[in-house]
Symmetry: C2
Subunit: 330 residues, 2 copies
């Protein structure tokens, strides 16, 4: 266990390093702790012993280790108050009623990107439990339809549907009416099942042509379920940090942002605001990711901020918490 002075020392080092990105030497701490540099050095070597600090080379100042950041995040840092300006900007967005709430999330994460100079990510998909409110089909040409699905929470998805055989307007209408009759109110993750076991048999009994329409719509539905949206805001932001001041490092980070599979992994599982530092981020050893799950108005997903390991943990945590509270209170 750390004593008060050690905690204070770690705090000073982490916060100073976050600000300057330079190793912290013992001398620069003296004034803050009212003791000599030698004393600081002794304490420093204890913290190094505990794997909370590191040196970049034998005679360099100290920087926090991954474990050091972790200790800081878990035991030392205090959530900051948001400054008036930030709150006003964000509140405006959440109280703009003509914005769908999911758009408000996207917009507010854009703002947070600007505010923090880090990169933000919004992963969202329409929630599985959303219920179908209506299915609409609009013919475009002989062989093409647009299928539109609207959920009770106001999500709209549409898909081009190509149909081999020509089908008449009335046949389309019949099929769609039939489908609507069965699936309105069905959660989207159960639609495929319902179509297969309840609607399909009915189709068989009536006109043959309908089979083609049914098949096309069935395919369209199975695609609806998977679609998730990914939005990465300002990848360039994080690359402005000095630790990425190297072309190959930058390329590596950048290609991570373009790797859809990796980005999708950011999807957060647990509740609350979670902090993943360095290797924990599964993204890059030099970054940290702070993320949280959201679920609102038939949409669920994860919002995340990606910054350097040397990130402003308290500020970011506070900002994300603010957004989460706004979402939850709606």
């Amino acid at each position: 266990m750390l004593n008060e002075r050690q905690k204070e020392l770690l705090k000073l080092i982490v916060e100073e390093y976050i600000k300057t990105a330079r190793p912290i030497g013992s001398k620069s701490i003296c004034e803050n702790l009212n003791c000599s540099s030698a004393t600081i050095r002794n304490e420093m070597s204890i913290l190094e012993e505990l794997d909370l600090l590191e040196k970049t080379h034998t005679s360099s100042g100290r920087i926090p280790s991954e474990k050091g950041y972790r200790y800081y995040v878990d035991n030392i840092m205090q959530p900051k108050e948001l400054t008036g300006e930030d709150v006003i900007n964000l509140n405006k967005i959440f109280h703009n009623h003509s914005l769908a709430l999911s758009d408000a999330i996207v917009r507010s994460m854009e703002i947070i990107s600007e505010l923090t100079n880090y990169t933000s990510i919004v992963l969202g998909k329409s929630s599985d439990e959303n219920k179908i409110s209506k299915v609409e089909v609009v013919p475009i040409s002989d062989n093409n339809l647009i299928a539109i699905v609207i959920t009770d929470k106001g999500h709209v998805e549409h898909k081009n549907v190509f149909i081999q055989e020509k089908v008449s307007l009335s046949e389309i209408k019949q099929t769609v009416d039939l489908i609507n009759k069965f699936i309105i109110g069905t959660p989207i993750n159960e639609v495929s099942k319902k179509l297969e076991y309840e609607v399909k048999p009915q189709i068989g009994e009536s006109i043959k042509q309908q089979k083609a329409i049914y098949d096309a719509l069935f395919t369209a539905f199975s695609e609806f379920q998977q679609e998730a949206s990914v939005k990465v805001n300002k990848p360039s932001n994080i690359l402005k940090e000095p630790e990425f001041d190297d072309a190959s490092k930058m390329r590596s980070i950048l290609s991570k942002f373009e790797d859809k599979e990796l980005i999708n992994k950011i999807q957060e599982q647990s509740n609350g605001i979670n902090v993943y530092i360095g290797s924990e981020s599964e993204f890059d050893d030099d970054v940290a990711i702070i993320k949280t799950k959201y679920k609102i108005d038939g949409e669920e997903g994860t919002i995340a901020l990606v910054g350097p390991k040397r990130m402003n943990y308290d500020r970011v945590t506070t900002l994300l918490k603010f957004i989460k509270e706004n979402i939850d209170s709606e």
Copy 2:
């Protein structure tokens, strides 16, 4: 005017530089032109005199100048044949009927990004001449509606609409029916006018509540018109080129890709495949942009490839031409 040998020399230098990114010395050309390095040097200095070649320093080899690339593109390069593989991949996409054509464009530009290792951009918006095929409104809650607009070419847009006063289902239906009656078949760029001058007066005469619905829908419509989609594929690709092997250069390029205003400027005006080299690109002096307009199935826009100035002009031009032909023939 250049003589044959000078043209051949310029061609060799441009193509070699495109391949290696290193200044080309006179010795390395000897074999290709069957003469001594001194002769090459003489010719080189003539080309330099004409501003077609440059040196990076007094005793360096030559690199093409902006004007040199321009001359190469306009007078020397021959469109290449596409190799079998590329054609097959791209053709597959264009002949997949379940893909809307505009999705096929996006998909094929993704592929071209991979193929060339450059960055591709697709700017698209639904064409102004598209006609409204149907307007649909679905209530979500007391104060929220979803307005959906479908055009004759199969474009679908939707918008959350917030309504101050509570309105009944039947009032909504009446208003929407009225709107539909007037605007089906109207090109979207004329919808606002038509709503204002033909539909609004009718609204005034019937129930007051309808005014609120009308207003909300009117706002929604005016927003539909402007929306354009922007897709930038693999910004990291271009940054792999050695001319961008510098952190600050990379940052500068990258932030350009995030600058929506600048990206929208890429919108191409003239027909055909156009090549903008260096400063002509209005993007960065070290990049070149090859772009072309497209217009298809009620969507129009620009596809562009952004690469280094040292880009594979013939290959990219051929690829873009191929896509353009596919689009136009559909």
